[in-house]
């Protein structure tokens, strides 16, 4: 916990939280990191196979093969989500399944599924970006900020 947060707590609360922490099982950070590394690596390896498949069998370049590869990975993730498997894999893999594009697809598909009972417009449409929305918002903003910085630097360097 940050010091900022701790300051707001009374001494009794601080004492209790220190007491409680001794009874709590710690998060297996090292094991989680190893699992995330392995699972994330396996997903990327799979993506590499898909990309090579498109490169070898169709008229794609390394650059243009990216789009169909991502589409296949998204499709796989959505199929695993709707069949109720993805969340179980994610419990094991942690960030390994959350960080790649499959995790992004899972966040959209799971939210869409969850709100199906509230109808297509207000339910599925209104909620499918509930989790992914902030990724998109800050992703777009980050891209804008980076592009702006790059342009400015290029201008300064060029003059």
């Amino acid at each position: 916990m940050s010091d900022q947060k701790k300051k707001k707590l009374t001494p009794v609360q601080q004492e209790y939280q220190a007491f409680a922490r001794r009874s709590e099982p710690g998060r297996p950070v090292l094991l989680n990191s190893v699992r995330a590394f392995l699972a994330g690596g396996v997903i990327c390896l799979l993506g590499q196979f898909v990309q090579d498949f498109f490169l070898w069998n169709f008229d794609f370049t390394e650059k243009t093969a990216g789009n169909p590869t991502v589409a296949v990975m998204i499709l796989l993730s959505v199929i695993l989500t709707v069949s109720g498997v993805y969340d179980h894999i994610a419990q094991w893999a942690g960030a390994g399944t959350a960080v790649p594009v499959t995790g992004f697809a899972n966040s959209i598909a799971s939210a869409a599924l969850e709100h199906r009972t509230e109808g297509f417009v207000l339910g599925v449409g209104g909620n499918m970006f509930k989790l992914a929305g902030s990724v998109i918002a800050f992703g777009v903003f980050a891209a804008f900020a980076v592009a702006l910085a790059r342009t400015l630097l290029a201008r300064l360097g060029g003059s």
Binding site: S23, P25, T97, A98
Partner: protein, 336 residues
């Protein structure tokens, strides 16, 4: 009647003449499966939404309890119910079906004993002949509201708990066969500044300890006066903390009689529950199923149920508020 600071002693001792527990597929795989009146193999219970499924389970628990008591719905004066859904819709919609005068309660997972306490007061004061107390929770419906979509791949830490899918209901009457409600201690809201909704056990343990301490103080009892003291849904983590806190206060309860409904309801092989069960139905189903059955068999004669509730909302959590918690204790006794 009022004893000490916050405890009621019921002079007549309202009788739980019938109780019913309904569970979902995951509860059916647990060690207490035998103690449920009705188990569903399907989370949807044949309905088209989880919310409707929860309501159906609550209705089934109520109907089963009414039937087991040998009553008709019209015989019930008041229906006291609450749940975790937004605006307690499961309870209110079930009340619509039952068509019985209704009090809607919200005490999060402490609602089971909040209802039983108030119901006992009504019966003890002859404000009602028969009262029906019930509560329910539904795992995916609750997850959806409080956390993430069911199929979302978020990793749950080892302190997380699993919301019980099910419902529990009890009929209180002035006289009859069954365990009596002899007393109840109404809890204060306790907030120890815990903010992690994946660590409800640590958030709720101080509230449970506060209520147990008050109960012992008001009635001049100790842990040894009961055959069993069960907290509602502290889980393994919260239970360990509560036991430690009680020991520090010099009120240690012998470990063989101190347990938690959230630990009892699932087996060690059900790893996905992490620290244990939670939700309104956790204490309700375990008390009205398992513990009631053990009392009827005479294995237990004096039991204290301490239902714990975390009074947070998704909004309060997002606004970085800590988690205020409460616990209500009800004493049950086999006596004529």
């Amino acid at each position: 009647m009022l004893r000490g600071h916050q405890t009621w002693v019921f002079d007549k001792g309202p009788v739980i003449t019938a109780a019913a527990a309904v569970g979902g597929p995951f509860e059916a795989k647990g060690p207490l499966a035998e103690d449920f009146d009705l188990l569903h193999g399907d989370l949807w219970v044949g309905k088209d939404s989880f919310e409707k499924a929860e309501r159906k389970m609550l209705e089934e628990a109520c109907e089963t309890a009414v039937r087991k008591a040998g009553l008709q719905k019209q015989d019930i004066q008041f229906f006291l119910s609450g749940d975790l859904a937004n605006q307690i819709t499961a309870s209110s919609f079930a009340a619509r079906t039952l068509a019985v005068p209704y009090f809607g309660l919200y005490g999060a997972c402490s609602t089971s004993m909040e209802g039983l306490t108030l119901g006992s007061l009504l019966v003890d004061k002859e404000a009602a002949r028969y009262v029906l107390c019930a509560t329910s929770s539904h795992n995916p419906a609750t997850e959806k509201q409080y956390r993430y979509p069911t199929e979302y791949g978020a990793q749950r830490p080892p302190t997380a708990q699993w919301t019980v899918t099910g419902a529990g209901a009890a009929i209180l009457a002035g006289a009859g066969e069954g365990p009596r409600v002899t007393g109840a201690t109404i809890g204060r809201v306790v907030d120890m500044g815990v903010t992690d909704p994946y660590n409800m056990g640590a958030a709720m343990a101080p509230a449970a300890v506060d209520t147990i301490t008050a109960h012992f103080r008001d009635l001049g009892l100790s842990g040894r006066d009961y055959d069993l003291i069960a907290t509602g849904d502290l889980g393994r983590v919260g239970h360990r903390i509560a036991a430690g806190l009680l020991a520090e206060h010099g009120l240690a309860i012998p470990p063989e009689i101190f347990t938690d409904c959230g630990i009892l309801i699932y087996g060690p092989e059900q790893k996905t529950v992490m620290a244990g069960g939670s939700g309104c139905a956790c204490s309700a189903a375990v008390t009205y199923g398992h513990i009631m059955n053990r009392m009827k068999k005479g294995e237990l004669n004096k039991v204290l149920i301490v239902a714990t509730g975390a009074l947070l909302s998704p909004l309060s959590y997002q606004q970085k508020e800590s988690i205020p918690c409460i616990a209500h204790a009800v004493a049950l006794e086999n006596r004529q």
